[in-house]
Amino acid sequence: MVAKITPQISEQDGYKFGFNDNDRATYTYRTEKGLNEDVVREISKAKDEPQWMTDFRLKSYHHFLEKPMPTGFWGGSIQNYDLNFDDIYYFARASDRAEGDWSDVPEYIKDTFDKLGIPEAEKNKLIAGVGAQYDSEVVYHSIREDLEKLGVIFVDTDSAVRDYPEIVQQYFGTVIPPADNKFAALNSAVWSGGSFVYVPAGVKVDIPLQAYFRINKENMGQFERTLIIAEEGSYVHYVEGCTAPSYSTDALHSAVVEIIVKKGARVRYTTIQNWSTNVFNLVTKRAAAYQDAVMEWVDGNLGSRLTMKYPSVYLMEPGAHGEVLSLAMASDGQHQDAGAKMVHAAPDTTSTIISKSVSRGSGRTSYRGALKVYPGAKRSRATVRCDALLIDEKSRSDTYPLMEIEEEQVNIGHEASVSRVGEEQLFYLQSRGLSEVDATKMIVNGFVEPIVKELPMEYAVELNRLIELQMEGAVG
């Protein structure tokens, strides 16, 4: 979701991406509504997958059936919703393959992504590679030639299963096993699309790789599967953006993202999630960081009806560092249940979690975080800081921090604050000529600044714009 959204897009309800292509969209293939073993087999068959993947899917499907809906600490929020797994389409194919040439992408899909500014970003060389997923599958993928020559792989995960089976098989499902939780099991059973990124040792990808996820169909489920492997001493920044049309019925987005950051490598993964407010966004994201590796999640959640997402870093070897910068904004009817998980499994590991949330109207944000330090992870250092900003009287924010520290020789810091947009701040800014709406926007933009400044310029601009859009009509 790079800048340059064309102005003719309808701005109904303040959501710029609410248009759909139903008049023109044609699906070459799709499964029936609902999920059973046949649907899982069908997906695998449609993709002409090797047997090991079909088996993986079927095994995962049974985990999905056996696993209860998440409850307790990690499932507190889903209990309040009536999510019907039978009312979802699990797979729909709009195009027969991921095109490498933009002109080969079907016209109506091209129009959609044109409106979202996707080819622009590539043309303007703001990104090193791009992937665009439309419902279940990736319709376009490209990477800068020089990076390809250095051995960098950036393809959709379906192609990776076909073209790089040995790497995929080695890592797929190792960071997030199918039985991890009900939604990880669901994704493992019906996954489709997503990005596969492989960065060889010592290669530094200088500008971001970008993926774009678009749900178009009503009642659609999108289950992309992303796997990133950064070999020793490499660097990559991966950015994803997500939007969907505004339908009156619910859609489900349940991704799994696995990242392996090897010795001395660094991976940054940035998400600007702006799903329409009928989307359930239930995602499992986890990275394993090895010796002296750095893993950074920059996680911006603005859209969706309910988001439950807690990017994690498992710090596996000495010197590993994990970081989560989480930004959540909840407007009327939205609940952003976001946070982070840090697991210190080795000595001399460090982690930082910074969470900023803004609730307005009846919007609700929850910070849910876990910090675990295993015995023997001596000299671990961890910092958690969560700040919540409430715009209106009825806005709500909660903090659920969980700490399991099983080693004495550690340094842990935790700070939390909740503030309301203050009368004095508003008066001060208004006395300088800013309207109440503009004053509120300025306060909110200032509040999220520590996260926004970590984004590449185009995304920072876009995020500020999205925040402003959300704030329109918030007051006055």
Binding site: G422, E423, Y428, L429, S431, F447, P450
Partner: protein, 260 residues
């Protein structure tokens, strides 16, 4: 004839149901500097906040004409856009918003149109130089971690950028050492133009050594009990507030007795 900027008549103001101003009259013309002095609790800051439109300061009676127009019902931003400015006694901080961004947006808002980058930059640099503030100042977050002196200078910087017709300065001298006071006062003097009216609200006479008022008013228990020229401030400096208060005590007792 001098052009009238502000005309207050019989102004009464309540804060949380408690009446603080009991009928204030004041006329300020362009080019004039008025000092409003008074002991703590006399209603000086209430007057400043009510004029700017703070939502907690309810105007319950009287009229406030600014450039001939009643402004009592206007929101603070509308008053600012008409050319009213308040230099705060305790300016609040805005985390994550840089001074430069804030000043630019404020200038744009007050003008009602975009300000060319170059014009803004030049004005900002010139005003900062005038107030002897470092360029780095513009990149800091609004009032965050500012010293007392920096906060006051930031207020005057805003005044310089926004170019108001009437500036109310609420205890701009409080919390300043003598050097900072001089810098701030010199800045104000340099920004003074024949079109600008200034209302200086202060407890002490010392600010008036640097910014010379033509008119001095004493506010006590929510009323202007005495008005005069600069000599009134010097008299206060010498004798304190007690003699003046005693002089008016019988009249005030009568006036406030009804509420007691």
């Amino acid at each position: 004839m001098a052009e009238e900027l502000l005309k207050i008549e019989g102004l009464t103001v309540s804060v949380e149901g408690k009446q603080i101003l009991n009928g204030v009259d004041l006329v300020v013309n362009r080019g004039e500097v008025h000092a409003i002095m008074g002991p703590n609790g006399s209603g000086k800051s209430t007057l400043a906040n009510a004029l700017m439109g703070h939502p907690r300061y309810a105007i319950t009676g009287g009229t406030v004409l600014f450039k001939g127009e009643e402004i009592s019902a206007l929101t603070p931003d509308k008053r600012a856009r008409k050319g009213l400015f308040l230099a705060f006694q305790y300016p609040t901080s805005i985390a994550g918003v840089t001074m430069v961004n804030f000043l630019r947006q404020a200038m744009k808002a007050v003008r009602g149109e975009d300000v060319p980058v170059r014009e803004f930059r030049e004005k900002l640099l010139a005003t900062m130089k005038l107030l002897k503030v470092d360029q780095e100042f513009a990149r800091r977050y609004v009032n965050e971690g500012f010293s007392g002196g920096e906060k006051k200078r930031a207020e005057i910087l805003q005044m310089g950028i926004l170019d108001p017709d009437l500036a109310i300065m609420d205890e701009t001298d409080s919390g300043l050492d003598i050097d900072a006071l001089r810098t701030v006062a010199e800045g104000v003097n340099a920004l003074t133009t024949p079109k600008l009216g200034i209302v200086l609200i202060t407890h002490y006479q010392r600010l008036l050594n640097y910014i010379k008022p033509q008119f001095v008013h004493i506010l006590y228990q929510g009323r202007m009990i005495e008005s005069g020229g600069p000599e009134l401030a010097l008299q206060l400096e010498a004798e304190g507030y007690d003699p003046i208060i005693e002089k008016y005590a019988p009249a005030l007792a009568g006036a406030t007795g009804e509420r007691a």
